[in-house]
């Protein structure tokens, strides 16, 4: 390569670097200009949960989408901080739904186009209780359920889960994909959250009535879901309880390399 050519090559690289730097700086500037997505809190926060604190938190953090006093917003329009919102009314949801959405970190949502996903929980326990109390005070609705998984049957749970839930959540509740949504794995959820989700039907999940799944059946399902954290891996290393994908990985990345190494060693002539 001639000296001139090399010089040109270097300058091209330098140019690319310069353009990349400009873009990176631009991205930082744009990020800086975005409104802060942090939680708005009253300056002096009481240490006990109260519907009053809930109302304050609601006005600051939820009303841009859910409307003043939880009346809901039908079509997207800019709310607090200029964030466009379109949220359902919360006047008849009771305590169960806000408890579920806040404890799972599904709410508040960064963008209305996002699927609510298990995320960092942004409110303290005190604040969640307050918000739940406030939303529950807006109208009649179901209370936070108190499931008793210990009274359920594991065998019934397995069967019911396969019938009602595994089609989306996978047989061992490892989650997956359905058209339009990511189905969360359920190893990190609590009994109360499961009971709430079944009755609420968050996001794309259908809502199951008492007729479809009775409370005692629900207890069995919850018992089964909690069991899937540590299912019976009698066969040894469970490789994630995901079925053939990890099995194929073990075949190609553990068994085959071992066997190829054996072939290489056996193919060698030693002592030469």
């Amino acid at each position: 390569m001639s000296y001139r050519k090399r010089l040109r090559f270097m300058s091209l690289r330098a140019r690319i670097l310069a353009v990349a730097t400009v873009f990176a700086l631009g991205a930082v500037a744009i990020a800086q200009a975005q409104p802060q997505s942090g939680i708005v809190r009253p300056t002096t926060e009481p240490s006990n949960p109260s519907a009053q604190l809930g109302a304050q938190l609601f006005a600051g953090n939820c009303s841009s989408c859910h409307g003043i006093s939880g009346s809901g917003i039908a079509s997207p329009r800019p709310g607090a901080g200029g964030i466009p919102g379109a949220g359902p009314p919360l006047q008849r949801v009771g305590a169960s739904a806000p408890d579920f959405y806040l404890r799972t970190g599904y709410m508040p949502l960064a963008s209305i186009h996002d699927q609510p996903a298990p995320d960092r929980v942004l409110f303290s326990d005190n604040e969640i209780r307050s918000l739940v109390a406030y939303v529950a005070s807006l109208g009649p609705g179901p209370a936070i359920p108190h499931p008793a998984p210990a009274s359920g049957s594991l065998s019934d749970g397995l069967h019911l889960f396969t019938e009602h839930c595994a089609g989306c959540h996978q047989g061992l509740a490892r989650g997956g994909f359905v058209t339009g949504a990511l189905v969360p794995p359920l190893q990190g959820v609590t009994a109360t959250e499961i009971a709430e989700a079944v009755r609420i039907g968050p996001y794309l999940m259908p809502r199951f009535s008492q007729k479809q799944i009775s409370d005692s059946q629900l207890n069995s399902i919850i018992r089964y879901v909690l069991w899937t954290r540590h299912p019976s891996d009698r066969g040894g290393w469970g490789i994630g309880n995901l079925g053939p994908i990890p099995e194929g990985l073990v075949t190609w990345w553990i068994a085959l390399p071992l066997l190829v190494v054996a072939c290489v060693l056996l193919g060698k002539r030693f002592g030469r």
Binding site: L154, L158, G176, F177, S232, G236, I239, E247, L256, L259
Partner: protein
């Protein structure tokens, strides 16, 4: 006087005249290179499959009769299931070493096919399929595709949630084959899905008798053809030529190698069977047509078909309201046929393109045939990317890359990446060839220089006059 060794041997030889054949067999020369052992790995996995399979057949009940489970595995207690499923749960929980043997059987199946694929790539990239070994190549491909079917039947027989869903997909693909698909699939299943109980006897007899015998026959022909036309060999030294075989005799040279490999393959498979869980059917539970699980997958060797079914755009061949070819045909039937057809025809395609009709006993290194190597890499990548898309839902859960984004990336990537690789690999091969030639010239020059120096140094020593 009687001799306890000589006499029986003479007895057998006098009645079979086998000594000459045996002597020839024992003197058969094996090429001295590790890559020739990959096919043996497949063979020994097959032997493990037969051994473990016989044990499982002692306990397996191929019946769809409904029964209620009451056994040591409490999470299934009181559930209604088929006798087939129950017998496999019992193999896993109640019979001695049942789970070990069952898991070893399943790992052996996964490894059997994987080692066949590795063996196939070795044969492909070294040009071992060329004249006079095209038939060996074809038989090998038939074995590979027969093994796919054998494995599919094996895990379908268990009648757990995954096998039922797999059968449903197989049924759908079967129906989609134009003209013959409907009658063929319906006569196999006996009735619309899930079919009649006879399906289980059919799958069972195919899995434990017909296909193993077919595989054994194909293996025998494959090995007989290898021996008849002899192994290929690499050009490891000047002594290795097209006409002279250099290698290790079956006995004593190759025998300890092969024996060691038998034990190693068995050890790896049994270790996996004992330590790593495979197809925990007690966790999936029994199948009913209205039950299903998200993320259901076939065993890895059919993953490329699931990938193709998922990747294929929604397109049916229709005339008016009449569907000539429904969608599952493209990914589930046409795609594997194209792969099989291309591979099977490859020796002839290459011959047509290169005009090389001669016999080849010496192997190419991949760089020696840049076009073949480049095509092979591109082709394998094409199949691999389609295979990888079969796991797109799990990639979404793990990495957060949305399914639709992956769909578009893969729909373009499966064409662009192999094409780019084709030209890249061909370039690399040619560069390697060039560097080989430079090296050759340099060595020759050094050799000549050394000779010259020797001649100069030797000159004064010669007696003058």
């Amino acid at each position: 006087m009687t001799d306890p060794v000589q006499d029986p041997v003479r007895f057998i030889d006098e009645r079979t005249a086998g000594a000459a054949l045996l002597r020839r067999g024992l003197r058969y020369l094996f090429p001295d290179h590790w890559s020739f052992l990959l096919g043996e790995v497949a063979l020994y996995s097959f032997i493990v499959l037969i051994g473990t399979g016989i044990y499982l057949a002692l306990f397996f009940d191929p019946s769809t009769a409904k029964t209620v489970y009451h056994g040591p595995y409490t999470p299934l207690d009181g559930q209604t299931m088929s006798a087939a499923f129950k017998s496999v749960v019992d193999i896993s929980f109640a019979y001695k070493a049942g789970l070990l043997i069952r898991q070893t059987h399943h790992w052996a199946a996964d490894v059997f096919v994987a080692s066949m694929v590795i063996h196939l790539t070795r044969v492909f990239f070294t040009g071992a399929f060329r004249k006079p070994r095209e038939l060996t190549w074809i038989i090998g491909l038939l074995m590979l595709f027969t093994a796919f079917l054998e494995g599919y039947l094996g895990y379908s027989l268990v009648d757990d949630l995954l096998s039922g869903m797999g059968l449903a997909i197989g049924y759908g693909v079967g129906l989609s084959i134009p003209v013959i698909g409907g009658p063929m699939t319906l006569s196999l299943f006996g009735a619309p899905f899930p079919g009649k109980p006879e399906l289980w006897s059919r799958m069972y007899i195919a899995h434990v008798l017909l296909i193993p015998i077919l595989l054994a026959v194909l293996i025998t022909i494959h090995l007989a053809l290898v021996m008849a036309r002899h192994h290929t060999q690499f050009r490891q030294s000047r002594r290795h030529t097209e006409r002279r075989i250099v290698g290790v005799p079956l006995f004593p040279g190759q025998t300890p190698r092969s024996l060691a490999l038998v034990f190693f393959v068995a050890a790896v498979l049994f270790l996996l069977g004992g330590l790593v869980q495979i197809n925990p059917i007690w966790q999936w539970g029994p199948f009913e047509p209205w039950l299903g699980t998200n993320g259901a997958q076939p065993d890895w060797y059919l993953g490329w078909l699931i990938g193709a079914l998922r990747l294929m755009p929604s397109f049916d061949l229709t005339i008016g309201h009449f569907t000539l070819v429904p969608n599952p045909f493209w990914g589930g039937a046409l795609f594997p046929l194209v792969v099989l057809g291309l591979l099977a025809a490859f020796p002839w395609i290459e011959r047509r393109l290169t005009g090389d009709r001669t016999t080849h006993n010496l192997l190419d290194r991949p760089r020696d045939a840049p076009n073949r190597t480049a095509f092979g890499v591109a082709f394998l990548t094409w199949v691999f990317l389609i295979f990888a898309f079969g796991a797109a839902d799990r990639i979404f859960v793990l990495l957060g890359l949305s399914y639709n984004t992956q769909l578009y990336i893969f729909r373009i990537g499966i064409w662009v990446v192999p094409l780019a690789l084709f030209f890249g690999v061909r370039r690399v091969c040619r560069e390697l060839q060039t560097s080989d030639r430079i090296e050759e010239v340099r060595e020759q020059a050094e050799h000549e220089a050394e000779e010259d120096r020797g001649a100069v140094a030797g000159a004064p020593a010669q007696p003058a006059g």
